[in-house]
Amino acid sequence: MSTQPAAASSASLQRELGPRQAQRTGPRAWFRSLKNHQFAFAGAIALTLAALVALAAPLIAPHDPIEINAVDRLKPIGDSTYPLGTDRLGRDVASRLVYGSRISLGVGLATVILSNLLGITIGMLSGYYRGLDNALMRVMDAFMAFPGILLALGIMAVLGPSIINIVIALSIVYTPRVARVVRSSVLSIREMDYVEAARALGGGDARLIFRHILPNCVAPIVVQGTFIFAYAVISEASLSFLGVGASPEVPSWGNMLSEARQYLRSEPMLAILPGVAIMIVVLSLNLLGDGLRDILDPYMRDARGVE
C-alpha cells in the first residue's frame, strides 16, 4: 500500500524526463543517448574513423609521406601509383594527408589534456577556496584579453617552431577558458545540500573536491573539451600555415596548405584537399560537442564557451 504513491510519482517523473536512460548517468548512459542523437553519433563515428586512420597511418599510407621523388612531381589525381597525386616535390599527397591526421589529432588531444589539467586545477582552487578566487580569475581575465591566435603566436615566437611547443602555446591559450567553466560549476555545486551533508559527516577538502564536486563538473568539462579540441585543430593548422607551427618538413595539414598557397593558380587541388580533411575532423568534433551539450547540459544550448 505504502509503495503505491512512490511508484506513481516515479512513473510521472519518468514521463517528464522522457526515456529511462536519460535518468542514468555515467559513460554507458551517455553512449546510449549519443546513439539516439543522429548528428552527434555521426560526428562520433567520423571521429573514430579519423582516429583509426591516424593510428594505422603506416598501414594505410601507400607511400612514405616525406620521400621526395623528383621524377614524379605534380602527378594529377587518379594516377595509378599516387591515388591523390603528388605535390611540388613529388611527395604522395594521399600519404601526407593520412600522416597529417596524426599531427592534427595529436595536437588537439594533447592540448585538451594539458589545458584541462591546468584549467581544472585553477578553476577548482578558484571556485572552492574563495580567498584565491579574485586573484586567480583576474589573471585568467588578463590572459583572455589577448586574441587566442595572437597569444599563441607570441608564445611560439619565444619557444620556437615545434609540435610540442604548439601544444604548450595552445594550452596556455585555452586554460583560462577551462578554468572559467570549472569555476562556475564548482560555485553552484559547492552550495548544494549533498556537499553540505558530506562536509557535516566530516569529509575533508580533498574528499569533497574529488569525490563530490569534481564528478559533477564532468559534463561541462567534456562539452568544453570537445570544442577546445576543434579549435586546437584549426589553430595548429593556422600556426603551421603562417610558418611558425610545425617545422616545414613535417607532413601537417597546415604545412601542406602553406606550400599549396604558392601554387594555388596551377595546382588548386593541393590547397583544397588538406582543407577538406581539416573540415571533416573539426565538423565531427563540433557535431559531437553540440550533441553532447544537448544531452548533458540542456540549459547551455546554443551558447558557446570558446571563441
Partner: protein, 314 residues
C-alpha cells in the same frame, strides 16, 4: 551612471597591469641573448656589453619593466631590433589595412549573422532553419585561411572580380580599398557570422516564447511587426555583448587573413616579426591589441547598460 563608469575605469587598472606584465614576461622568457642575435656571431664582448647597456638590458628586470610601461604610457613601445624604426610608428603605418579589414569583417558578421539568426528563429524547425544552422556549423568548422584560399580561387582566379591580394590605401582610391578588403573580410567574418547567427537565433527563440510577444500577437499585430519591433529589440541584447569578443577574434584573425591575401597590415607585421624574432614589435603589438580589447569591452558594457537599464540597478 557616473559612479558606475568610475568603478569600471578603476577595475581596468589591475587588468591592464596584468596584461602588460604578461606581454613583458612573454618576451623576457626568451632563451638566448637577444643582443647576441642582433649583432651576429662576430660581435666582441665589449660591443655586446655596450649594446646591452644602451638597451637597458643590464638593469634589474623590474626596472626594465617599469621603464617599458612608463614609455608605453607615453606612446613609446621601444625600437624594432630588425628594422631601425620605433615600434609605435611601425604599427601605426600598418594600422589602416588592418582596421579596414576588421571593420568591414564586423559589418559582414552582423549583416549576415543577425538576419540569419532571426529568420532561423522565426522559421524554427523548418528546412530553412535547419539549412541555415547546418551552414553555420560548416562555417565554424573551416579554417578562415582555407576559406580565403577558396575565395581567391573562385572570385579572383576563375571569375576575376577581385584582386588576388594586396591592399589599395583609402587615400589612393576608396572604391579600390573596399574592393581589396572585400574577399578577406568575408573570409574573416564568415565563422563569426555563424556564431552571431546561432546566438541571435537562441535569444530570439527565448524572446518569442515570452508573454509580451504572445500578447502582441493576440492583439492582432502582424507577425513581421511583432518580430521586428517587439522581439528583436530584446533578442539583440546578448548579441551586443558578444560584439566585443567578435571584434577581438576578428583583429586576431587578421594575422592569418593578411598573410593569405598578402595585405601589408599590422597582422602581417606580427607574423613577420615572429619569424624574424623581432621581440619589441611582437611585445608592442600584442600589448596594444589586448589594451584595445579591454577598452572595447568597456565601451560595449557601457552601451549595454545604456540599452538595458536593468543592469544599472543590480
Amino acid at each position: 551612471m557616473l559612479r558606475y563608469l568610475l568603478r569600471r575605469l578603476l577595475a581596468l587598472i589591475p587588468v591592464l597591469i596584468l596584461v602588460s606584465l604578461i606581454s613583458f614576461t612573454l618576451v623576457h622568457l626568451t632563451p638566448g641573448d637577444p643582443v647576441a642575435q642582433i649583432l651576429g656571431d662576430d660581435a666582441t664582448v665589449d660591443e655586446i656589453e655596450r649594446v646591452r647597456h644602451d638597451l637597458g638590458l643590464d638593469r634589474p628586470v623590474y626596472e626594465q619593466y617599469l621603464i617599458w610601461v612608463g614609455d608605453a604610457l607615453r606612446g613609446d613601445l621601444g625600437q624594432s631590433i630588425y628594422v631601425n624604426q620605433p615600434v609605435t610608428s611601425m604599427i601605426i603605418e600598418r594600422a589602416e589595412p588592418t582596421l579596414m579589414l576588421a571593420i568591414v569583417a564586423l559589418f559582414f558578421t552582423l549583416i549576415i549573422g543577425i538576419p540569419s539568426g532571426v529568420i532561423a528563429a522565426i522559421k524554427h524547425n523548418s528546412y530553412l532553419d535547419q539549412s541555415l544552422m547546418l551552414l553555420a556549423l560548416l562555417a565554424v568548422s573551416m579554417p578562415n585561411f582555407w576559406l580565403g584560399l577558396n575565395l581567391i580561387l573562385l572570385f579572383s582566379v576563375y571569375i576575376g572580380w577581385f584582386p588576388t591580394g594586396g591592399y589599395t590605401p583609402l587615400g589612393e582610391s576608396v572604391v579600390g580599398a573596399f574592393k581589396s578588403v572585400m574577399l578577406p573580410a568575408i573570409a574573416l567574418g564568415f565563422s563569426q557570422a555563424a556564431l552571431v547567427a546561432r546566438m541571435t537565433r537562441a535569444s530570439m527563440l527565448d524572446v518569442i516564447r515570452t508573454d509580451y510577444v504572445r500578447t502582441a500577437r493576440a492583439k492582432g499585430l502582424p507577425a513581421s511587426r511583432v518580430y521586428i519591433t517587439h522581439a528583436l529589440k530584446n533578442a539583440l541584447l546578448p548579441t551586443i555583448t558578444v560584439i566585443g569578443l567578435v571584434l577581438t577574434v576578428l583583429i586576431g584573425g587578421t594575422v592569418v587573413t593578411e598573410t593569405v591575401f598578402t595585405i601589408p597590415g599590422a597582422g602581417r607585421l606580427v607574423v613577420n616579426s615572429v619569424i624574424r624574432r623581432d621581440y619589441p614589435v611582437i611585445q608592442g603589438a600584442i600589448m596594444m591589441v589586448a589594451t584595445a580589447y579591454v577598452l572595447i569591452n568597456l565601451v560595449i558594457d557601457l552601451i549595454y547598460v545604456y540599452v538595458d537599464p536593468r543592469i544599472r540597478l543590480s
